[in-house]
């Protein structure tokens, strides 16, 4: 199945010749390994931000739970579905690219970009709604300050920093996928797969941002 070594060693487990030079020990190209290492480092960036957010939240005397079912939770759930669906279309793009069906790969890449674009549009509407209510990076709306006395003003800074950095990653991903789609005839199937790794990572990060930022702050009293 895997025939990577130059001396004909082909096995899935560890082979001593893998580490003797003249071969790719991980059986992946250097570009793909580079993307994996970037993902590793970026996961620490988001991990640090989410731990910092959790620290501030637990240490606070009070923390606002301002998100109503509609529009906030409905929007963020639809945004999650957009990202998950775009990950599926990305998988299809990679599969089509492996088969060298470039027209289909480009179509699936555009589908992925559509999901990412919908995510950004919905998120900006949500941001606009919160800014309209008076939320700022270091200031809570007057109504919130009365509803949750002693609430930390850092709600806004953590919210905008984490969701903003994530949105920037989605935006960067859209440009990345756009370049890959436009150059689909010139890039290799490994390049498409690498862009997919980035896109799935953006999706993966949201799987932690969504419950920590939104679901643990729903405005609901049973």
């Amino acid at each position: 199945m895997e025939q990577v070594t130059t001396d004909g060693v082909a096995e899935r487990g560890l082979a001593s010749s893998d580490w003797a030079g003249g071969t790719l020990p991980y059986h992946i190209g250097h570009k793909k390994l580079g993307m994996w290492l970037f993902i590793l480092s970026d996961s620490l960036t988001f991990g640090a931000l989410l731990v910092g957010y959790s620290y501030v939240r637990v240490a606070s005397q009070n923390w606002p739970t301002p998100f109503p079912f509609s529009p906030s939770i409905v929007f963020s759930t639809v945004m999650t579905l957009c990202l998950l669906s775009s990950s599926l279309t990305m998988v299809m793009a990679v599969a089509a690219s492996k088969k060298r069906d470039l027209a289909a790969a480009r179509k699936w890449l555009f589908g992925t970009m559509l999901g990412g674009g919908a995510f950004i549009v919905l998120h900006l509407i949500e941001w606009n709604h919160l800014i309209g209510e008076g939320l700022r990076p270091f200031l809570l709306p007057e109504e919130w300050a009365q509803k949750w006395p002693g609430a930390s003003p850092l709600f806004g800074s953590t919210f905008f920093a984490i969701t903003g950095l994530h949105m920037f990653h989605v935006f960067s991903g859209l440009i990345y996928l756009g370049v890959i789609a436009m150059r689909i005839k010139k890039v290799t199937d490994e390049d498409v797969e690498i862009s997919g790794l980035y896109w799935h990572f953006v999706d993966l990060v949201w799987m932690f941002v969504f419950p920590l930022i939104y679901l643990l702050s729903v405005d609901y009293k049973p």
């Binding site: 487990g13 059986h27 999650t80 579905l81 799935h200 932690f208």
Partner: protein, 106 residues
Amino acid sequence: MSETASEHEHVGSTSLFVWVWIALIALTFFEVFLAYMDIKKEIMLVVLMGGSIIKAALIMAYFMHLKFERLTLVLTLVPAMVICLSLLMIFFPDSIRAHDLRMLLK
């Protein structure tokens, strides 16, 4: 050295990926449903994070193809990621002390 990952066999059928996607959607709806349940915040946090870790594992294993890569790559990436992320949590208990201190001074 001339042969690289481009010669990797593409593993995983379309139906497998669709099933993973369905599982991810189902877990998402479960999490939203849980957010409106009358349960303690600590329990909710543990269950929500458990769900998120399962979702992350599914995405990494199937969508990012890690399940189909060499074990050496998995062993290089995953333990480093898990250990570093766990080490970030090392100062977290201090937040409880800070909270208790705030409540005392209130």
